[in-house]
């Protein structure tokens, strides 16, 4: 029955709260998971941490991870807020396709010499983002005003969205050459890829928006107890419309990043299964699918965990078919580590052995 001294020590540590730091904090476990994965990657490939400057551009696995993660990080921002309200947005992948289709079709008119202001690259980007916002508004309307369950409401767009994107591109996968639009996906500032700046800017902007206003609190309140929030006079419909709209905007930006990278809009493949990675990242980041407390930076961390894992698998030269299995196992491990129930189960297990 005597607990091991080591465990006692750990429990003492658990009770120690150092300026918000606690061993029971999910953030700690997420960071730990990321560090472990990075170290394993380093063991597999010795120059994993090296970063070089080539032609004014930083090159290295770490940069690749950040760059490769950027589209999903953008998605995870909107997804986090949606999930915090106890919702879910399955349509983000198709919204990426729609936004990139819109942008590429318009920009090609510009390249072909059309002079109207709405073919200007800057305006095209705004229109593509607006298209994402409209998709989000639609989802929000279904969820908040027609009381359709989020998974069903957004499934509608998940299914129909690719059709819409194909209609926009007339069934083609158009390419483009416009450098302004391409910059969103492949531009470089001070050696660092532009998408990384975009992610950071969105993370900071949205965090400021929700935390410097009452929106964050109201989102959490609605997610934790919708009825009690209603009784407290919170207009939860408006909150829901807002988060789905924001999710649509984030998805449009992610769509532009992907389109810029490959200089084309592929209505079939753009953003395919991206919603699943985004949802996974949010959950790894500690936001419960039951709604409630959220942290955008932790969701981004979740994306980085997935992305470094993928990179690691790639450099390990494991047979590609094993990748998905390994990914699933590692994700499961991270989720288990974060779960209070699982940790106390482990504790009990060790205690009984002792």
């Amino acid at each position: 029955m005597q607990p091991q001294p080591i465990l006692q020590l750990k429990e003492k540590l658990a009770d120690l709260k150092l300026g918000g730091f606690s061993w029971n904090n999910r953030a700690v476990w997420s960071v730990a998971a990321l560090i472990i994965i990075l170290i394993v990657n380093r063991l597999i490939s010795p120059n994993f941490f090296s970063i070089d400057m080539v032609n004014g551009r930083l090159i290295g696995s770490l940069i690749n991870i950040l760059d490769g993660a950027s589209a999903i990080i953008l998605l995870s921002i909107g997804m986090t807020l949606v999930i915090a309200t106890k919702g879910i947005d399955l349509s983000v992948g198709t919204v990426m396709a729609i936004a990139s289709a819109v942008a590429v079709m318009l920009i090609n008119q510009y390249e072909a010499g059309a002079g109207e202001f709405y073919y200007m690259p800057g305006v095209v980007i705004l229109i593509a983002v607006a298209a994402g916002a409209i998709c989000g508004l639609w989802n929000g309307f279904l969820v908040a005003y027609l009381n359709i369950q989020p998974i069903i409401a957004t499934l509608i767009l998940l299914i129909s969205g690719r059709g819409i994107a194909q209609m926009i591109t007339q069934g083609q996968s158009p390419t483009f050459t416009n450098e302004t639009l391409a910059f969103i996906g492949r531009g470089v500032i001070l050696g660092v890829p532009f998408p990384i700046y975009l992610c950071l800017a969105m993370l900071i902007l949205v965090t400021l928006l929700v935390r410097r206003s009452a929106i964050g609190l109201l989102i959490e309140s609605v997610g934790i107890n919708a009825r009690a929030s209603f009784y407290a006079g919170i207009n939860s419909a408006r909150i829901k419309v807002m988060v789905y709209t924001l999710s649509g905007i984030c998805a449009a930006l992610a769509g532009l990043v992907v389109a810029g990278e490959v200089k084309s809009a592929d209505p079939h493949k753009a953003g395919e299964f991206a919603e699943l990675d985004a949802i996974l990242a949010v959950v790894i980041g500690g936001t419960s699918l039951n709604g409630g407390r959220f942290n955008l930076f932790l969701s981004a961390l979740g994306v980085l965990i997935i992305q470094s894992l993928l990179t690691g698998l790639y450099v390990s030269k494991l047979h590609p078919t094993a990748n998905l299995v390994v990914k699933a196992i590692v994700v499961l491990a991270v989720l288990l580590l974060q779960s209070d129930e699982f940790r106390s189960f482990l504790k009990r297990l060790f205690r009984r052995r002792a």
Partner: protein, 506 residues
């Protein structure tokens, strides 16, 4: 008779039972005994550790130290389910049923009668109906539990507990939402269980009920056992001072009401004419003046909560009109009601009140923040200041304001909801059972707060199952029966006898 029971092996005995949450000691070295065939009342202020004690007994929480003996043998409660198998059934303060299942399903959850490998819902329904009928509750057991009032839900939880073959039945504040009649039926069930040799552990804040039904009393204060007595040998005054740790001072005693009549000549703040909703409430008129306290009295299900819901826009009225300060008002949702300066402390604290995972601070400022809107953000400093004020004004027991509200004791959660509406600075406050689950000291405080708010010129509508309370503070009492307002009592007409007579009249 007691003496010879003392000699027998206790049904339950704890020695040195201790529990600390993070840094909060909730229970320290408590020795407690429960004998077969006795009703043992566990008393103490909000946050004294009563619920914690029973949660340790039933394996909801794991104890830090101490032993638990059941019939002389040491047990290791792992989970409520495990304890049920051992013969310890509990009905917790926060009802733990599933609102979206039917009443019958809730009663038989996990042990449904089977027939040819399938759940025999027909038998389950019949049995559930009969069990409830024994409590004089005649309802449709196939409807969702959530369709019924909190009181009915409470009884369903009790029926579920009693039905399991129990040696020990633990009831954490079972009567707080019951009216007199229902308390009587519950007590008669408790007495018959007692005759069968079941040991009953009862937690309640109603001292009258303690003296009516219990044989022995254990008093906790700040997690420490401060006394164990035979009920017949403990004068009430001594009991109260043991619970509070000091004599019941003037300040705690309920101030005599001095507001009656002076409120009556003021202008009405709210006037409702012909509000109604099919299947919910017959048409009614209602006026509440500034500085006036209007009480709603009636049996459970008579339409008291329904009136509160229609006025606050939880459900919108299908007809009639409302005027606030003489102006036509649209009360179709809580958001609108709040903009007119309304507030509502709901009856069901867990489902309709607290945001469990948010901090005490966030819970307190929530309604005010919702009223201010998205961008008029209360600064953290302002939030802390408001929460600080309320925590000391209502004497909310919490280690700090950042603690999730779900970690507070039941009575203190109730105070947090009241605080939420007080900081929103309402002009009209609807309180649905505001003293439920509140200890003796705080009970008086809350009644004094109700009166003080009225003196400050606020309009008040108060629902309570406790008639003495209603009689004490109401300037006017509306009496309800069968979803209808059947009488309005004023001035000298307001008395317990008169209210009961009105309810009983046919």
């Amino acid at each position: 008779m007691r003496n010879n029971e003392q000699a027998q092996i206790p049904l339950i005995e704890t020695r040195g039972l201790t529990k600390t949450f993070a840094a909060t000691p909730a229970l320290s070295e408590v020795d407690f005994t429960l004998y077969s065939g006795e009703v043992h009342a566990l008393l103490g202020e909000n946050g004294a550790g009563k619920s914690t004690l029973i949660k340790l007994l039933t394996g909801v929480h794991k104890r830090d130290a101490g032993v638990i003996l059941l019939e002389g043998k040491e047990i290791e409660p792992r989970s409520p389910r495990h304890c049920q198998e051992l013969g310890i059934s509990a009905v917790y303060q926060e009802i733990n049923l599933i609102p979206t299942l039917s009443v019958a399903e809730n009663i038989f959850l996990g042990r449904q009668p089977m027939r040819r490998g399938l759940v025999d819902m027909k038998t389950a329904n019949r049995k559930a109906y009969e069990l409830l009928k024994a409590f004089d509750i005649d309802i449709d057991v196939t409807r969702d539990l959530s369709a019924y009032s909190i009181a009915i839900q409470q009884i369903v939880a009790i029926v579920r507990g009693v039905d399991l073959s129990a040696k020990v039945l633990i009831l954490d504040e079972p009567t707080s939402s019951l009216d007199r009649h229902e308390v009587e039926t519950l007590f008669s069930v408790i007495r018959s269980l007692k005759e069968r040799g079941i040991g009953i552990l009862l937690i309640t804040h109603f001292l009258d009920q303690v003296y009516e039904i219990s044989d022995r009393i254990t008093v906790l204060r700040n997690g420490i056992k401060v006394g164990e007595h035979l009920t017949s040998e403990l004068p009430r005054i001594q009991l109260i001072s043991e619970m509070l740790g000091k004599a019941l001072t003037e300040e705690l005693a309920v101030q005599k009401s001095g507001i009656s009549s002076n409120g009556l000549d003021r202008e009405p703040f709210l006037r409702v004419h012909g509000f109604a909703r099919r299947g919910m409430m017959q048409p009614f008129d209602l006026e509440v003046r500034k500085g006036e306290i209007v009480g709603l009295a009636g049996l459970l299900g008579s339409g008291r909560t329904e009136i509160a819901h229609l006025i606050f826009g939880i459900k919108h009225s299908e007809q009639g009109e409302a005027y606030v300060n003489g102006q036509a008002a649209n009360l179709s949702s809580p958001q609108k009601a709040v903009q007119y300066g309304f507030g509502l402390c709901p009856e069901d604290r867990k489902e309709d009140g607290i945001i469990a995972d948010l901090s005490v601070r966030a819970n307190i400022i929530l309604a005010l923040q919702a009223k201010l809107g998205w961008f008029e953000h209360l600064t953290p400093k302002k939030q802390e200041q408001l929460a600080e004020e309320m925590i000391s004004a209502l004497r909310i027991v919490t280690t700090d304001m950042e603690k999730p509200v779900k970690e507070l004791s039941g009575g203190n959660q109730q105070k947090v909801i009241l605080a939420r509406w007080l900081v929103s600075n309402p002009e009209f406050l609807i309180l649905d059972e505001p003293t439920r689950g509140i200890d003796v000291g705080a009970h008086a405080e809350i009644i004094n707060i109700v009166k003080r708010l009225a003196q400050e010129g606020k309009a008040m509508l108060v629902i309570s199952s406790e008639l003495p309370e209603i009689v004490d503070y109401s300037d006017r009492v509306m009496v309800l029966r069968d979803k209808q307002v059947i009488a309005e009592l004023e001035g000298d007409q307001i008395s317990e006898a008169m209210i009961m007579q009105t309810i009983a009249e046919r």
